[in-house]
Every structure is written in C-alpha cells, then in structure tokens.
C-alpha cells in the first residue's frame, strides 16, 4: 500500500511525478509511432514498446507471417494493428462480447484474451481466412449472404468464427443447439433471430458441402 491509498484507487502511481512520466512517455512513444510502418498506439505508462518486440512466425489464414510481437501483446492487437486483419473487432477487450472471436486449431477463442506469443505453432483463422483459396465462400459466409442476418455487423466476424468452429463439430444442429454454440457472442442490435436464421442456413450449406466432399 502507498501512504496515500486514496490516490491509488485507479492503480496508477500515487502522485504527480507518475502522471508527468506518463505524459512524457506518450510524447516520446508518439515519436516512435511515426517511425513505424504500422499504426501502433503507445502503451500507457510510457514504455517505448518497439525494443521489446520479438520476431515470431505465426500461421494465420494458412499463410506464414513473420511479425514483431511484444510479450504482453494480445492476438487481437497483432491481427488488427500488425497484420492488417481488421475484420476481427475489438469490442470490450475483456472476454465479454465475442467480437474478437477467431479460431485457434479450429476452436473458438476470444483473441482479446490470448497472448500472441502463446499461439506459435497453432493454426490461426480470422474471418478473412474463411473462404477457400479459390474464392469459394465458406458455408457460414454463404449463409450470411443468403439471409442477410446482420444489422450493423460489428459483431459479425466474431459470430461467423464462432459458428464456423461450432459447425465443424456439429454440422447438424437444432436451432437451440446453434444458439448455444454461438452464445459467447453478443449482438447489440439484438438481431439474434435473423442471425440464427443465417447460421442455420450456414449449417445447411455445411452439410451440403460435406456430402459433396
């Protein structure tokens, strides 16, 4: 505990020097940002982040990507701000909304709550990687297009990835099972009924594709 607990409520440094350091840090790393090729927001507390990056190899959407990653960086951050895969949305950044859902080895995860360094060796797929290399749409994409399930669609990529992972294991769900399968995703437009209709259409496309294969 600091001597002045009241000032420590937000977990920040208790007094002015901390704040000054913070501001200086923002200015300093602001300079660093312009020197980088990607848009990279400074971290609070003013650490210059570039030095701590490690170059690692990731398997993203079937491609091998080399990227410099901080130890404390989340996968959502790497995907969006380093790899330019901005279809993955950051909603709450707290595992409470589902907008950042991607698949790791075919299982749905919140990429806001995964450290990028821990996915080395795993197969990362974002909504950009759903379609086949020849351009054939994934059944989930086709279902969404057929039924126009989403309204504002901020949650859409997350729903699609959750549904893709779910359908891989359960290609023949009831509507209730599908709802349970994507229950880790929120839609603030409250468009659930139409979303489910689109995802059930996706299930239909999945079964058709499985039968052909």
């Amino acid at each position: 505990m600091s001597d002045t607990p009241g000032l420590n409520i937000l977990g920040n440094e208790p007094s002015n020097p901390g704040r000054r350091r913070f501001i200086q840090g923002v200015i300093a790393s602001g300079v660093a940002v312009s020197a980088m090729q990607y848009r990279f927001m400074q971290t609070a507390r003013g650490q210059s982040s570039a030095g701590a990056e490690r170059l690692i190899t990731l398997n993203v959407n079937g491609q091998t990507r080399r990227v410099g990653v901080l130890k404390q960086e989340t996968l959502a951050w790497t995907l969006r701000y380093k790899l330019g895969l901005t279809a993955t949305k950051l909603g709450c950044d707290r595992a409470e909304c589902g907008a950042c859902t991607v698949t790791l080895d075919d299982t749905a995860h919140y990429s806001c709550s995964v450290l990028t360094h821990t996915v080395r060796g795993k197969k990362v797929v974002t909504v950009e990687g759903l379609a086949s290399p020849d351009g054939t749409l994934h059944p989930v994409q086709q279902g969404v297009i057929d039924e126009q399930g989403f309204q504002c669609a901020f949650c859409m990529s997350g729903f699609m990835m959750a549904a893709a992972a779910f359908l891989k294991k359960n290609p023949n769900p009831t509507r209730a099972e599908m709802a349970h399968g994507v229950s880790g995703n929120l839609c603030r437009c409250q468009d659930y009924d139409k979303i489910l209709t689109a995802l059930m259409k996706a299930a239909e496309h999945t079964r058709r594709a499985n039968n052909v294969a």
Partner: protein, 338 residues
Amino acid sequence: MAVIRDVMPNFDLVQPASLADARKLLDSDPDNVWLMAGGLDSFDWLKDRIRKPKTVVDLTGIDEMRGVRAWNDGIEIGPLTTLTDVVNDPMVKAKYSILSQAAELVASPQIRNQGTIGGNVSQDTRCWYYRSGWPCYRAGGNLCYADTPVGRNREHAILDAQRCVAVSPSDSAPALIALDAKFVISTKNGEKTIDAQDYFLGPAIDITHMTILKPGDILTAIRIPGTWANSKFYFEKIRDRNVWDFPLMNIAAAMKMSGNTITDARMAVAGAAARPWRLTDVEAQIKGKTADEATGKAAGELAVKDAVPLQFNAYKIPLMKNLVKRAISGVQEATWEA
C-alpha cells in the same frame, strides 16, 4: 474505473515446457511471478494495471499437467485441462456427471475453450470494488466498500463474512468439494495433497487470498476418488443471464441412496461465502432421512441458520433455502408461498 483499451504494461513472458522447469523458475523469484493458465482471470488484473507482475509464467506448455486419466478407483484431472475438455471427457461424464454439468455452466463457450479447471478453482473473487483497485480489506486496506449503506452488494456474501463480504465465484469448486476431490500442490518444499475444501480460505483466515496457494506454489493435479462416483447428483446455478454470468449462487450435492433414504451426502454452495461453502450440518442432518420435501425444507432452514444479509442481498437467504431443498427432494412444480 474506466476500461483501458491498449497494450498491457510490459512484463516478461516465460513459457516452461515441464513442471520441473516451472518449479526452478518459481523457486528463483516466487514473489514477482504471475502464473497464467487460460488467462481469463488474469487478463483483467493485468489490463486494468492493478497487478503488475514482472514476469508472467505461461503454464500451458506443460503437457504433463493437462488431461484426464484414471487414478486408483477414480480419476486425476490435470489443472490445465480446459473446461470444455472437462465437460466432454468420457470418464467425467460416465462417473462424475455433476462436474461436467458444473463446468458446462461456466461463462461462455469461448471461455470454456480456454479457461482451465485449475484456473477456475484458483480464480480471485469478482467483487467489483476489489477488482477495480479500491484499497479495500482484501487489497490490504482498511475498509469494505461493498458493506456500507450505499454499497452495491447484491452479489455478496450472506455467510462467514468478516470485514470483507466478497464471495467465491467458481462453478466447478462446489462440485469438486461434493465429490471429495483432493488437490495436489507443488511447493518449494515438495508436494502436498489436501482436501478440496481446504484449498479455499475465508476472510477470518486470510483476508487477502482466496486459496491456500503461496507465491511459488503450483496446483498440479485434481484427484477425484471413486467414493462418490455415480451417486445421486444435483447441480443448479442461478445467474442473471444464461451466458457469461457468474453464479449468484450455485449448489452441488452428491447423495448416496438406499431406496429413497439418504445414507450419506456431501453438499456445497458458491456465491454465499468467501469460500465455496460446505454444508456439513445439513449433510449430518439428512443422513438416514427420506429424500422428501420435509427433509429438504428442514435442511434449507438449517443451511441459512447463520446467514446475515447485507443491504441488497437478502434474496440469497430464500434462494439458498430453496436450492438446498431442491438438491434433496428434487424440483417440484412451483407453488407460490407468500
């Protein structure tokens, strides 16, 4: 507090591939290390800058600590086993369905895909004053912000509170206590095995920790004996939304029956006290009784005998009575009682 949405402050990330390596790391600097399994409890602390560890140890590379295997007449669950894998495990389903049921009711599919059973029992409380960094008793301060006339305490404790009124939020813990699970802990001085219920601490014993783990300790296995396999199980979780939400209260019961007579029982609830609350008095009272409404009702009364409500959580008293009753005599058609 405002939610900060940028990269977390610096920490070093270490990824040991064996328990022995993790042990070595922890022995060298136990106080500056944060253990991380699925990370779903950890990330809030780190993102909100409330915990600022120098080093985070990612345990997920330690394969020997993952998976479910047969152990004596029961099973051993590696703490890194994800909740999804616990839910779907054939041995868990066949013999300890109550655990599978409890794990399936945790959070959301994505969280279950990543959150581990070890992390689920070791997670910290969700009292928002504490989690937002207020300098409360649990954070080492000298005040409880939840237990004041205007404190928001609808989710807080009705039992065993002392200064701190936070509750244990785990859904799997009561099920493990009902199954008489044993937790194996690797410490700097070797390994020890304890009963599941002794893993958890109330504020009278340690107001700043939810579990017995000391810096540098690792939970290495959860063992469930055969004793309660396939007994009569009951699990119920009450929450506001059907996904994501922590239990306002849950109950786990294992009962051995001879006809309709209860010959032995174990029962625990979460969301009532700072630790998963084992109902030993109830267990003793219902032994030898018929599993009917009268027994359930009397047990419910006994369960809440010492309950003390706060401003906004008095509803937990009838809730707990009813959960105990339902665990014993099953779910009947709802009848309204004024």
